[in-house]
């Protein structure tokens, strides 16, 4: 079985953005400033990642002007929700094939590839399954 991790989402900052927006009900949008506050990012950093996600059709941004103030809101599109769902399923499939120490379970010798083929996750490559993946395990990223 091949598990594909969407390279556009498989990056800490973009994963945070997509996961945060996915926690909103379908169709609801979040203001740029609140998203920035929640993620603790600088405006420049956030804009770079939002543009990438928007270019892929994963999120939509809307600008509204109220007098001199401009308000930007961003929302996950249905395509973005589907992408996160597929990404989550890929993680589930992949981690289901690991034992508690991160070694491949007997029944689940998966390997991971990126859909766009930009890079393989280190230690999770063809042939070896996920055997070497535990070498670089770090605690969960925190803000």
């Amino acid at each position: 079985m091949t598990t594909e991790l969407d390279p556009l989402i498989h990056m800490p900052t973009r994963l945070k953005i997509v996961a945060t927006l996915a926690a909103l009900p379908d169709g609801d949008a979040l203001s740029f400033t609140r998203l920035q506050d929640m993620l603790g990012l600088t405006p420049g950093n956030l804009i770079i990642q939002l543009r990438k996600l928007e270019a892929a059709g994963y999120l939509a941004s809307t600008k509204t002007r109220n007098g001199s103030a401009q308000r930007t809101t961003v929302a996950l599109t249905s395509q973005g929700r589907a992408a996160l769902s597929a990404y989550t399923q890929a993680l589930r499939d992949l981690l289901g094939g690991l034992d508690r120490d991160g070694r491949p379970a007997e029944a689940g010798r998966d390997h991971v590839t990126f859909r766009a083929g930009t890079a393989d996750v280190p230690g999770v490559q063809d042939g070896d399954g996920v055997a070497a993946a535990d070498a670089g395990v770090q605690p969960a990223a925190r803000q």
């Binding site: 991790l5 390279p7 498989h10 990056m11 800490p12 900052t13 994963l15 945070k16 996961a19 945060t20 996915a22 926690a23 909103l24 009900p25 379908d26 169709g27 609801d28 949008a29 979040l30 203001s31 400033t33 609140r34 998203l35 929640m38 990012l41 950093n45 770079i48 990642q49 990438k52 809101t73 929302a75 989550t88 993680l91 589930r92 992949l94 981690l95 690991l98 991160g102 991971v112 990126f114 930009t118 890079a119 393989d120 996750v121 280190p122 230690g123 999770v124 993946a133 670089g136 395990v137 770090q138 605690p139 969960a140 990223a141 925190r142 803000q143």
Partner: protein, 224 residues
């Protein structure tokens, strides 16, 4: 780990090359749980506090009127002061949590929630406003004991359950229905016992909703 690469699309970090899938799963769960907590207008902590409040207020009234034969419904001024303060803290806390959850959020679900909020505020006001003319009409003490402990919550619970079901807020519909059931059961407790039944019933309902909300917030996206 968490920096944004300066050169878009060319670094290892940007394409996720040094991002372990298990780290990704942990991060996804961590961010999702925090976002759920921040976006939800139902705080498990506030619901637990509300459970304690109703137990203290309704239980306090029951303690002050139990054993009264005939029932006089006399409640001490200190108990009323404590009840008013607790209710005020609850209203303030609820308003703060709702304001925080909805800050910067817009869209159809948010508008639906605003409508739900408006309806529930109206239901609470109407439900308890009826006690004013009842007091003015000077009914007998047993009625005065039964009505405030049971009737407003029966009205609010049933109306809230109907609207929540129409909005497809199923956990809230269940909660409102449970409140109505507790209020209806309280009617059989007599003018003194009704306060105890309503208090314990509401306490159980709020604790149940708090546990349900906490469980839903903590549920993992990846792991079973």
């Amino acid at each position: 780990m968490d920096h944004i690469p300066g050169t878009v699309g060319t670094t290892t970090a940007d394409n996720g090359g040094d991002f372990d899938p298990r780290q990704a799963a942990d991060l996804l769960d961590q961010v999702t749980r925090r976002a759920r907590r921040q976006f939800t207008p139902l705080s498990p902590l506030l619901l637990t506090f509300r459970a304690v409040i109703v137990l203290v207020i309704f239980g306090g009234v029951w303690l002050s009127v139990r054993g009264e034969h005939p029932y006089t419904g006399h409640i001490g001024g200190r108990a009323i002061t404590v009840a008013v303060v607790l209710v005020a803290v609850n209203i303030g806390g609820t308003a703060w949590v709702i304001e925080r959850a909805g800050a910067g959020v817009s869209g159809p679900a948010q508008r639906k929630w605003q409508a739900w909020k408006g309806f529930m505020v109206a239901a609470w006001i109407i439900g308890y406003a009826i006690t004013a003319p009842l007091y003015h009409a000077a009914p007998g003490h047993p009625v005065w004991g039964l009505y405030p402990a049971s009737a407003p919550l029966l009205i609010i619970g049933l109306a809230g359950a109907a609207v929540a079901a129409a909005f497809r807020y199923w956990p809230l519909a269940g909660t409102c229905l449970a409140i109505a059931v507790a209020a209806a059961a309280a009617g059989f407790g007599g003018p003194a016992g009704s306060w105890l039944i309503t208090g314990t019933g509401l306490c159980a309902v709020y604790l149940g909703l708090a546990a349900f909300t906490a469980g839903r917030q903590h549920r993992s996206m990846v792991r079973p």
